[in-house]
Amino acid sequence: MHELSICQSLIDMIADEARRQAFNRVEVVRIEVGRFAGVEPGALAFGFEVASRGTVCDGARLEIVDLPGLAYCFACEESVELSDRLAPCPKCGGGRLQPTGGDELRVKDLEVV
């Protein structure tokens, strides 16, 4: 359940930003999570709800933007999108794939008042 630690980190960052940019309440937190980031969106949502209580994020909506997994297919010699780490190449059906992207775990922006 490292998603709770991740949410704690996210909320600490937002609390710092709230002091710096003088806002009191966050309505929406938009984050980008790659398919290969190793986090479970459901667990993130749960962790966010727990970790945000009594903070500037209390009651905020967590919007998770799902980013595709990217890999280089040695057979097709090009970059392809994957739905998960064990998915075959969508073009040739092969499994000789080197992951190249999709491990993003970023906060994009906030809607605040």
């Binding site: 003088a22 290969f36 499994g95 970023r106």
Partner: protein, 301 residues
């Protein structure tokens, strides 16, 4: 609560093995070194304050709501502390190795047997577990220095904990720093500790399909070590299948096999460690050569 990531919060403790401090720790009086992570104290890595915008504005007219762009990695605080750890380790050309596996794969046994065979090679150990100092005690029995981090409820080590542990360790030139992470094939994969290499350990008794079951861990590995290989015939472990599964997740990662029960059963691992130490020294040589070149060219280094 840990200011970096909040993992396990104030439950994290560090046991340096010093008798006095352990005494106090046993009585549950937090002080000096057996600290929880709830308070700040002097050490030489920064806690990653941003200095970009530290004056308050009057935002009286902003109540209608607005969008604040951040575009930042969620674990950026951990990443900054990991970079601090990396800088500290680089000063002595130390090589930190983050050892990750499920519980019971033989990490500590591998370390104990490795330390016995390392001879004059400098090596220290950071042990991570939820509870007990048992693993650190096993390491200390070999005569090497070990720091035990207890994460309480925390499921992984983070760069903040490792930074504090490093304060208590003597870093010798070109030495090895083994970091034994909490036994867990999921959570530790996400947290950079400042290590040079991530080593994922898989014992043959766990079955050859572990890489498929826990792909995120095997995806971040710089080396996969198959342990307890002397048991392979008794548990019908298919080494070829295991290698194929690792390659499916991480095509470029090397896989080596070890056994502490065989006379030369650790050779591939010891050879790999030597390669890492050599690479660190080569990096240092390149840096010194660059500094010499700059000096000769009259450019202030």
């Amino acid at each position: 609560m840990c200011v970096t990531c909040g993992c396990g919060g104030g439950e994290t403790t560090i046991d340096t093995g010093e008798p006095k401090r352990r005494h106090a720790h046993d009585h549950g009086h937090p002080h000096g070194h057996d600290h929880s992570h709830g308070h700040s104290h002097g050490h030489d890595h920064s806690h990653g304050q941003d200095h970009g915008h530290d004056h308050a504005h009057d935002h009286a007219g902003d109540h209608a709501g607005r969008t604040v762009a951040l575009e930042r990695d969620i674990l950026s605080a951990n990443a900054r502390l990991a970079a601090d750890n990396r800088r500290l380790l680089a000063k002595t050309s130390s090589i930190a190795l983050n050892l990750m596996s499920s519980p019971g794969s033989g990490k500590t046994t591998l370390l104990v047997e490795t330390l016995k065979r390392l001879g004059a090679v400098p090596a220290v150990v950071i042990e991570g577990d939820q509870q007990t100092s048992n693993d650190a005690e096993r390491i200390r029995a070999t005569g090497r220095k070990a720091i035990q981090i207890n994460t309480g409820k925390g499921c992984h080590l983070d760069a903040h904990m490792v930074g504090h542990a490093l304060e208590h360790l003597p870093l010798e030139p070109n030495g090895l720093v083994f970091i034994e992470n909490v036994g867990n094939l999921v959570c530790p994969a996400a947290f950079d500790l400042g290590e040079a290499r991530r080593v994922v350990i898989l014992s043959v008794t766990e079955g050859e399909d572990k890489p498929l079951k826990y792909p995120d861990m095997f995806a971040v590995a710089d080396l996969v070590v198959l342990t307890k290989t002397d048991l392979a015939p008794y548990v019908d472990f298919d080494g070829e299948a295991a290698r194929a599964h690792v390659a499916r997740i991480n095509p470029s990662v090397p896989v080596i096999e070890v056994s502490v029960r065989r006379e030369d059963g650790l050779k591939p691992w010891l050879d790999w460690l030597t390669t890492q130490r050599r690479a660190a020294l080569e990096a240092r040589r390149r840096q010194i050569e660059a500094e010499l070149a700059a000096l000769d060219a009259g450019v202030p280094a």
